[in-house]
Every structure is written in structure tokens, then in C-alpha cells.
């Protein structure tokens, strides 16, 4: 429950404050969200497996966001930003799907 509260609080803060993003970081926001989503689903699966760990969650969240943004930044500098974003999204998407499948097995036992 504490997790859901935190999520809700973050969304409400974001909607209320509408923080401004520096224009330079604008293109990396969507990819950061996808990377964060991967970390969150991984954490949810670990929670259902009973092996959740705060430190691992924080580290995986921060490193996921930073590495995804960095890969896209590097791609932009090399002129292959679009392709690298696609690659990052494919890899993270596969991970998200397989984690969600595991979560589904936990919840519905199916």
C-alpha cells in the first residue's frame, strides 16, 4: 500500500506543480519513463516473489533511467538516436512483458 501511496503522491505532485523540464533533457524524458517502468515492474515481481529489496530497487531504478538516457544521448551525438531509442525500447519492452507475465502468474496463479 505504501508503494501505491508513493506513486499516487508523485503523480499528484507532478500534475499540481507541473515542473518545467530543461529543453535539453526533453527528448530523454519518454525513454527515461520506459526505463523506470521496467525497474518498477521488476520491483513488483520481486515483491511478489518475496525477495524485494529497497537498495536494489533504488539502484536499478536510477541506473536504468540514467543508462537509457545516456544511450539515447550518445545515439543523438552519433546520429543514430532514433535507432538506439528503438533498441532500448525493444529490450526494455521484452523485459517488461516477461516481468508482467511473471506477475500475472503470481496474482492469478495461471
Amino acid at each position: 500500500m505504501i508503494a501505491a501511496l508513493g506513486l499516487l503522491a508523485g503523480v499528484v505532485i507532478g500534475l499540481l506543480l507541473q515542473p518545467s523540464v530543461p529543453p535539453g533533457l526533453d527528448p530523454y524524458l519518454p525513454i527515461a519513463v520506459v526505463a523506470a517502468l521496467d525497474a518498477v515492474f521488476g520491483a513488483l515481481r520481486a515483491f511478489l516473489d518475496g525477495i524485494f529489496d529497497d537498495k536494489v530497487f533504488v539502484v536499478s531504478f536510477v541506473s536504468n533511467v540514467l543508462i537509457a538516457a545516456m544511450i539515447v544521448y550518445l545515439g543523438d551525438k552519433l546520429g543514430v538516436g532514433g535507432q538506439l531509442s528503438t533498441g532500448v525500447i525493444v529490450v526494455l519492452g521484452i523485459r517488461i512483458f516477461s516481468n508482467v507475465a511473471a506477475i500475472r502468474r503470481h496474482i492469478f496463479h495461471a
Binding site: 503523480v11 520481486a46 524485494f52 539502484v59 536499478s60 517488461i96 516481468n99
Partner: protein, 292 residues
Amino acid sequence: MAADSRGTPPSPPSLPPQAVMGLLDYLTATSLDQDYAAAARRRSEQDPAAPSGRPGRVALVVLAVFGLLVATAALRTSHSAAQSASSRSSLIEQVNQHKQQLAQRRSTLRSLQSEVARLQSRDLAATSQGRAVDARLTRLGVLAGSAPTRGPGIQVVVDDAPGATSDKQRVQAPDLQKLVNGLWQSGAEAVSINGQRLTSLSAIRDAAEAITVNYSSLRAPYTISAIGNPKTMGATLLDTPGGQTWATLQSTFGLQFAIDTKDSMLLPAAKRVTLRVARNDPSATTPRGGAQ
């Protein structure tokens, strides 16, 4: 067993999984960060009784950050979509505004031009010398294409072959050039294509997909009006190289080509006959000064 292990190449059993698995298999198999399992193992080794697997305050903060991130990204996306829509509509507005302005200025130009022509003819009509100049101007204008011209002649309508698939079955600028050359050759005194009067400054050329005459794009079918002797011009045209080319185009590629005689046609004046750079040479003896 021993024979088996000798038959297969020796493989060290300690190869990391990403070396022996396909990338997709590896991604699916390790979709959960292995650190969770490692941390859980470590924790149970240190203190087997410790309760594990509950998110603490740090997880709350991180999830709040995640929510903030999602909300911000969603807001940014909807904001920039609204922005691009509004900039698009403002661009459309500007285009319409400028179109209107252009139309207004064109109509002003037309009225000014007609006023100039009216004043000119009034001034010239005042004196007998002026009247002579006026007559000469009109004659020269007909010749140069700067004055509307009326007279009998022929009208040639050409078009692409029906259901044309290749460029050869379409009317190209060189085909029109040959046809117009044929018309001049057969005694045309004034020629216009789809209302574009040909002058000494006219070019017939291909511009992208369209044929351009006097810098305006034309659309098929092309109607070429030529003032001249209607009785002979049609027949003479078919004898010229241009006419023969078109007879071949018609029979070989199916291009449409029809000649019609007209008792009276009005050819419009060319829009632009102003010379900006060319000057006459005063030392040369040029006929000037009206009909003496």
C-alpha cells in the same frame, strides 16, 4: 559416457549464460534483476530471521519520483501537441492572410494597369501625331504579344494518351515546342497556349510534373490557339516537321491531337513584356516615330 565426452569438443562449464543463450532468451530469462535474488540470499545468510520483501520508505520516495516522471512526461507530450497544433493553425492563418493580401494587390495592379492604358490612349487621342503613335503601339503590341489580339485561325488541342502509363505517352515540353514551331512556320501571327500568350520572352519547359509557359504551370489538355489564315494553316502545319512529329506521336503512342479552325479568336495579352535590362542602341538606325 567417456566416449561421449571425447566425441564432443570440450566446453568449459563455466560459460556465462549470455554467451550460450540467444539474446532474446537471455533477456526473457533474466528479466528480473538478479540482484534481488542475490540481496535476498545475502540477507538470509546474515540474519535468517529478518523479515524480507517489504518496501520501505526509500521505495516510497523512488515510486513518487516515478509518478512525477510519468506525470511530467505526459504533461510535456500533451503540451507540445497543443503547441504544434496552435502553431500550425497560426501558420494557416498567416498563409490565408497573405493570400488575401496578394489577391488584393493583384487587383490593385490590374486596375492601375487599366488606368495607365486609359490615360495613355486619352493623351494619345488628343493629337493627330498621338493617334498615329497609338495605332503604331497597338500594331506593335499585337506583334509583341503585349496587346490582346483578335482574328481567325486554328486551334490545336493536344493531350496525353488515354490511360497513359509511361512518360512517352504524355505530352512533354519538347513536343509542345515542336508544335509551336510548326505553327510559326505555317504562318501563325500570334500564338497562345492555354491562355498564355507567347512572346519573345516566353519559354516552354518542363518543371517537375507540369509544363510551364511564361512561368505559369499548365494543365492538360493543352489548347494552342494560333491566329493566321485558317484555310491553309491546318494543312501547312501537317507538312512541317512539328506537325509530322505530332502525327507520329498520335499514331505511335496514342497522344491526342486535334486541329480545329476558328473564324474569330481572342488571344489575351501576355502578362509580362517589360524589359528591365535590354536597351535599344541610339547609334543604330532603327525605324521609329510612328507612321510617317
